[in-house]
Amino acid sequence: MAVPAPAADRLRRVLAMVPWIVANPGIEVAAVANRFGLTEADVLDDLNVVWMVGLPPYTPDALVEVAIEDDKVWIHYADFFSRPLKLTAGQGLALLAATDGLLSVPGTELDGPLARALAKLAGVLGVEPDVNLEVDLGAAEGPTLAALQRSVDAATDVIIDYYSYGRDERTTRRVSPWRVNATGGAWYLEGFCHSAEGERLFRIDRIEDLRPTDDPSEHRPDDSGLDVRVFHPRAEDPKVTLWLAPEAQWVIETYPTESVKPRSDGSSEATLVITADAWFERLLLRLGPQVRILAADDEQAANLGRSAAARVLERYRR
């Protein structure tokens, strides 16, 4: 048996369900269940409470009347509950943000039902879309996104020219595409990379050229669900231990660490794996005096910051 929902949650549900039944007299119980994502038993439980509700002196004529016949339901005398409750700020925001975000996806119909719904909702909530609220799920070229989605649906491989920001290099790869999705403000392609021989994530805005093929994808995601991570340390990748100033603690929250030792002054010592030289060089250049290398697996890793700074300075000393 399911755990009963707390009273406040059920109240929320009932106050949403009653107006809809009032507006749709004789609706099937099954349709109510379907519409509100409940089981029929849940609906009947809720209706059982509703017919006890009313106003003082709680004589039968002051009570809500619920009639159920042939699996159909009618509600009468529920004038005070005949219209739904206002949306809370959180509810309005969640709905508007999801809608506005979806409309920002390249290729979405800009004058379709979703756009009309957004305009009507925003009107009721007293905001103007794009002026007061704008959600951008990430930059991506509409045709690239659409072509990738077609290859995902057809389960055929694609060839991509990809700029890897972390390694600061361009490569051409064959990928069996599994899924396209936006997270953290960017669009990603998840799939099996034939060059890396493993599951990989690709930022779609860094795909410089896309060539769909008709070759069926041999590598499919297994049923255990996708678990593709950006971070792929190899056994031979060097490790470094860094001292990070208090203002550089974001590094620990942003990148995977092997271990972290906080110090009492707000700084910390953290051990990280260097998966790509360019990534580590950028980190050191940006942090400047906020970072010191305390220990490194190999000499070259220990010198990456100095050598990168020297390379950049060469430009300035010409």
Partner: protein, 317 residues
């Protein structure tokens, strides 16, 4: 008598009344309360909290003609009822699909909103179907949204300083939420990263916007770190290798202008961008991310600052 039933009866009585009702009035007219005393008080306080968390607005006023004065409660119909947005069936269906496609992390509020608007229509996609995108909503975004709807100022602490802001606009870009508006503390328009707000956002209920937003706002472009700041604006010239130019042009946005480099400035076919910068630290960080593929040409002090920064790293022990 279940608690749900009592809450429903309480809501019905508070909605139906035309005058404020005291706690004692409510105890007598709503079934299911314990006799007068501490346990009634506790139950009544909990019920009020439950109604408030559900977003049911309780209005409190003095009960007329009673001495000593007593607080009375009612729910004003105009506060309670949803104005009907008049959604057509296809529009409601599109909204439902939107809440499935764009998953608001850790929240069922979009779904609850749909219930109120008439439920999840028809043979909808099953709940298990994958979302296309995920959207986090920081807790501080909700009160800011409330303030925008009600055109009220907000107050929050940012970089150790209390700010009073006429919040005009929320935007989510590159995975982060921002709020912009008129900063009453600084008497100028400002952008804030919501994740960096310290503590809670307070909506100043009795303080409407001091300034209205300008009629037309530039929409549809993500702002970069160097466009969000309080340094006095400077125009920085940035030289980049030609193979980076297209990509960089997109990142730098329309406020940056672009021209071919002269032969003194750099190798032929490299490109010079002139970028308006109001946050020099953020821009330095961006330029360093280009490694040896970019170079600041001027102004001289920005170039000197970058060289000094790099030399410190080059010479570090």
């Amino acid at each position: 008598m279940s608690k749900l039933e009592r809450l429903l009866n309480l809501t019905a009585v508070l909605l139906d009344t035309t005058r404020p009702l005291s706690a004692e009035d409510l105890r007598q007219s709503v079934e299911g309360y314990p006799p007068p005393g501490p346990s009634f008080r506790r139950a009544f306080e909990r019920d009020k909290d439950d109604l408030r968390t559900m977003g049911i607005p309780l209005s409190i006023a003095r009960v007329p003609g009673v001495d000593p004065p007593v607080d009375g409660y009612r729910i004003l119909p105009e506060d309670y009822y949803l104005a009907d947005p008049g959604l057509d069936a296809d529009e409601l269906a599109a909204l439902h699909l939107a809440t499935i496609a764009v998953r608001v992390d850790g929240s069922t509020e979009g779904r609850e909103a749909l219930w109120k608007l008439g439920g999840l229509p028809g043979e909808a996609t099953p709940d298990g179907s994958p979302s296309v995108a995920s959207l986090p909503i920081d807790p501080a975004v909700t009160p800011l949204f409330e303030a925008i709807r009600e055109r009220r100022a907000v107050q929050f602490s940012y970089r150790g300083e209390v700010r009073t802001l006429d919040a005009w606009r929320l935007h989510f870009q590159r995975g982060r939420w921002y709020v912009s508006g008129f900063d009453q503390t600084r008497q100028a328009e400002r952008n804030f990263r919501i994740g960096r707000i310290e503590g809670e956002v307070t909506v100043l209920v009795d303080q409407p916007w001091s300034t209205d937003p300008p009629p037309h706002r530039e929409a549809g472009r993500a702002l970069q770190g160097w466009e969000l700041g309080e340094d006095s604006p400077i125009a920085v010239d940035l030289l980049v290798d030609v193979e980076r130019a297209v990509w960089l042009g997109q990142e730098l946005g329309p406020s940056a202008s672009q021209r071919p480099a002269t032969s003194e400035e750099g190798p032929s076919s490299s490109v010079v961008f002139t970028v308006p910068v109001v946050n020099q630290r953020a821009f330095r960080s961006y330029v360093l991310g280009l490694l040896e593929h970019g170079e600041v040409l001027g102004p001289a002090e920005v170039r000197a600052d970058l060289i000094e920064w790099l030399e410190a790293i080059e010479g570090a022990a």
